[in-house]
Symmetry: C2
Subunit: 149 residues, 2 copies
């Protein structure tokens, strides 16, 4: 439980969200339910695509980033969800066994005009495989202020 | 199997992706694995949040849109994945039992400079609950041309 509130997030701040290894079975099961394109389900179809091999649905990679964000930042925080973002970039294919390093950077913040006990925090989330960035996602997180309890 | 190729997608075109009802059990299970925030897991926590009730992870709603997109457009198409998008907006909370109407509109297209047998198609995906839009997502889809086989 992080106890993080709006006041604890500062532009320029970088937060490490740990590393996650891509589990092949879960990756393929996710694709089977939500994104059953051949290159997300089958080794040979992946090799025959521009993606170069069996690879993760981008929604799976983003969802894994989200879990790390909950574990490291949102759990026990004043988070009130998100209205969305203005960039979701799948920069390179993600393969089974890849180890992704998740981080976020706070890029801006402001209090809500209509709800003074709520703040909007601009965040860019990233996933890196070694020195290769594979995911970048910029969004707004809503956080309650500590002041108003 | 739609057999859709780059040539079949035209700016202005709207494609119906059908309707999906939000299953409470799957919605909560998805959140438990990928987005375990209290308002995605628990009725009372949802009521006590600005979201107004137990509601879906935005990643679940987006993943359901993706599945409808695969079923109605990508299956058997020349799709080669997506480099991402420039907007992912969760416009309103989505609750168990909601029936979402998924659609897409083609907003632009051009051939790849580096790979002439590949095209970039700009797409805006939407989910509507009745007259309320709950999701909007703008992204680029990569499609092979039929000409180059």
């Amino acid at each position: 439980m992080t106890g993080i509130a709006y006041e604890d997030l500062t532009p320029g701040q970088v937060i490490d969200l740990g590393k996650t290894e891509i589990d092949r079975d879960e990756m393929v099961a996710f694709a089977g339910r939500f994104d059953p394109q051949p290159f997300h389900l089958d080794e040979e179809a992946g090799r025959n695509s521009v993606l170069g091999g069996l690879c993760a649905s981008g929604w799976y990679t983003a969802s894994l980033w989200m879990r790390a964000y909950v574990d490291h930042v949102l759990a026990g925080s004043t988070s009130q969800g998100s209205p969305g973002g203005n960039e979701l970039a799948w920069l390179a294919p993600v393969y089974p066994g890849d180890v992704l390093h998740f981080q976020l950077e706070v890029t801006g913040k402001r209090l809500s005009q209509s709800r003074p006990n709520l703040g909007l925090v601009e965040i860019t989330g990233t996933a890196d495989r070694g020195s290769d960035r594979v995911l970048r996602f910029s969004f707004v997180g809503l956080f309650g202020t500590r002041g108003e309890g």
